[in-house]
Amino acid sequence: MDNESTLSTIYSEDVSLMVVILDINPLFWTSVNSNTNSLTFTKFMDQFLPLLNSVLLLNQLNEIVLIAHGINSCGYIYNSSMENRRGGKRGPAFFAEVSEKLKEFMEADCLHRKGAKSTSTIVPSLLSGSLSLALCYIQRVFRSRPIYPRPRILCLQGSPDGPEQYVAVMNAIFSAQRSSVLIDSCVLGLNSAFLQQASHITGGVYIKPQQLDGLFQCLSMVFATDVQSRSFLQLPKPAGVDFRASCFCHKTTISMGYICSVCLSIFCKRHKKCSTCGSDFNRPNSNSKSSPVQKSKRKLDDR
């Protein structure tokens, strides 16, 4: 079913559907606040909202969906196609509406947190959740129209990666690749390995702006351009993406390692038993005598 739907993809090339994923992690934004010369959330919104408006102004048919994720929840904030049906707002009214909804969402997200103990380190936000939401929404657009806008996802991420989301984020990246959805990422905090991989695999742009004061210029120059126009532009070249794996036992990055054949866990040295799936690795040594070819192969591997 999915193969057929991706094959019969008819894009109207110059119309874009931009799903913006915004990280509103309160812990990240408050930590930013305490530093002196960096970007506060209010300043950030001043730079960010004009981007949404300018994308909508670039083409009348352009659509924007804004999804926010905090540390406890993910949710849809704004959907321009729905707003247009109700008589869309532009300019100041648009800014006010989006800000108001974001504020509501942030308050709700913080309320959830009350129960949990407050931590000094930044809790990662739920990137995987909002990526999944974005992909589901894009699928719905694919389903509902014969000709649809070219979709792309823009992630504005501040908080660090959550290692426990690794599988989910990778799943989302692969399904985005499958339905040829670009994932652009703009990182406001530390470099994110997840988003580096996401942009590299799906063919999007990954940047970590140096000057956060001029964020709007950066956003509008890079991320406002539609997919088709990108081939004519000199966009920031991707820096090297590190595809080396980190082992499960010591979390060190390795260039050569051992993989459990049953569950594909990565280890940096030989173990007798897989710590993830419990497979026993001692048995094959006795069995391998049965076939000379196997033995030579293993010798080669062990070298």
């Binding site: 999944s132 690794y166 390795i254 990565i266």
Partner: protein, 468 residues
Amino acid sequence: MFATVGGSGGSAIGQRLSGFENPRSSNSGNKNRQRVQGRGSNGVDDDDDDDDDDKEQDDDGRGEGLDAWERAYADERSWESLQEDESGLLRPIDPQTFHYAQYRRRLLLRSSAEQESSSLRIQKGLIRYLYIVIDLSRAAGEMDYKPSRMAVVAKCTEAFIKEFFDQNPLSHISLVTIKDGISQCLTELGGNPESQIKSLMGKLECSGDSSLQNALELVHGYLSQIPSYGHREVLILYSSLSTCDPNDIMVTIEKCKKAKIRCSVIGLAAEIYICRYLCEETGGSYSIALDQSHLKELLLEHAPPLPAIADYAIGNLIRMGFPQRGVDSLISTRSCGEELKVGMGYTCPRCYARVCELPTECRVCGLTLVSSPHLARSYHHLFPIPTFKESSDPAPTSNLYQKSRRMCFACQQDLVNQGSNNKSFVDVSCPKCKQHFCLDCDIYIHEILHNCPGCESQPHSKNGLNNK
């Protein structure tokens, strides 16, 4: 608009009237013409004109109807889109409902198989060595599948190979054909889908008898050489109704069983005892395709990795390298291609040979080279998301965006409008996070995304699904 309608109507009637009135008076022609043109704009004549058009359309429709009559019975198998209900009345199948029902069946089958096989952890054969045996005997030229059995098989195989490598990036496929009673290895075990498909498309001719034993012997010879951790599998696409063997096939089947080769057969004609016996003995599955779409469906069922049977492949640690991407501007020769290419290669971390693409085996030292996303692509088999439950109770309307309506958590689609008349339920809910989803999202989430958006939108400490 008005001018054209009036003009054409007027002229047609003008001709008719003038033909009638001309014998009576020749000099009143102009007057008549004027009157007729005047009348052309009123309702009566327009109706007249429409009737003419309708007649023409009817004629056209009858002409096409003959074609459609033939087409309907020859190709479209229109009776298959009808279903008998409880009272014996025929009723067309709603394609969407049908599609969804198919998907549910597939999902339930898979989840029940998982529950049976695994007590605690799911173990799957993620590293597979699969031989696809394609029967190109005389029977493959039969025209009951359009345009012919082998063309349909080739087309489905192409789709299967793509899907297979998407789901099993670390696995290998090889193609074997049976023709004139002899089996022949078309491609070596490899991980490149394009080259496999290309060589299959170039060899599509059929002749002679088919021989199950020869094929099994050949595959057995190859599969006994692969490393012990790999899952050995054979998938036979069998068109003919007989097998022409040089020796006792039972011995060969016994040999395959000992070598732990899982043999599965998809038949295109009818069930054959020896195929069923082979599949039962070696732990494979045997199925018969009813038509082209069913064949594709059966074939694609073999794409996701099967639950591992403890004895079939021995757990082992495999040494693998994670090469880094070379500098783009460097010009280098690589061992996998003949010509010089500019940059974009990977370097084997052990012997520093250059390779073009991953995953592959280093040509120089034999190290398996992968990148971490290749491994990650397989992880979703190990952490499946729960089957969603069909729900009848109204969804909670605790949504921030619009509080009044029930909608799908994932795509914000209305759950009320979307349901068509004969569906018993319109939405499903995840047993873990209790969020409601529409049926389309359900399919997408389970078949492609492999993430539950609801569970992912909660802090991970609660659900404890992905503890890696």
